[in-house]
Symmetry: C2
Subunit: 132 residues, 2 copies
């Protein structure tokens, strides 16, 4: 189940008009909250990193800096600084939760992110929040 | 001018009740969009990094990994992976814009972040979005 909250989450609506326009010109943000994921897969730093790098290659983004941190006893955070802004992944395997956030000044391939969440990481429910 | 959108932005409201409760238990997120900042100060990677590290020390957070990237001709992205989740800073000096995002499983000192934005980086308008 993919629940798209795009129209609900135009947070810039509350800004002064000039600020709203400026933020829109800087980029778009997509945040996916994914539930009931496969516990082991979202605790696999290599798999998460590989899938994110594939997404980046497939969508013609470029990585400048990469930070990966594995928590004990579980959980992973990946921060990728891109030429086009950033991609962040957080997982809480003990709760079967995966969060993916992309901020980019180019188009974001939301469908591919949804597919990674459901196909690779077994998410049963995905909520997509989009800010632009 | 600090505009607090806290009550407007409980994005988890749209989730199924069980998912909403789970996300709330994982942590809180605060995003600050800051406008009309001092162009030179938000393009100073050392100053940004120092101020964020001070914030982290003052609020008893701990850094695990640090990524800093300086764009040409301007602009900085800092990603700090914390014991308690993450802190991300993006600047667009050409537009006088600074964005600070903190996700943490402990309380976030929003007032200190606002103060950094206005006092150190000269922001004239700050919009605070809070998710919990």
């Amino acid at each position: 189940m993919v629940n798209n909250m795009a129209t609900l989450m135009a947070y810039t609506e509350n800004m002064a008009e000039e600020d709203r326009k400026l933020v829109s010109s800087l980029g778009k943000q997509v945040t996916l909250w994914c539930f009931d994921c496969d516990k082991d897969r979202i605790d696999d730093a290599n798999l998460l990193s590989t899938k994110m790098m594939e997404y980046i290659d497939n969508t013609n983004l470029s990585v400048r800096e990469k930070c990966i941190s594995k928590y004990e006893p579980q959980g992973i955070t990946i921060a990728l600084i891109l030429e086009e802004s950033h991609l962040m992944v957080n997982t809480w395997p003990e709760h079967h939760v995966l969060q993916i956030e992309v901020f980019a000044c180019t188009d974001i391939n939301q469908k591919e992110l949804e597919s990674i969440a459901t196909q690779t990481f077994g998410a049963k429910r995905v909520y997509v929040y989009k800010y632009e």
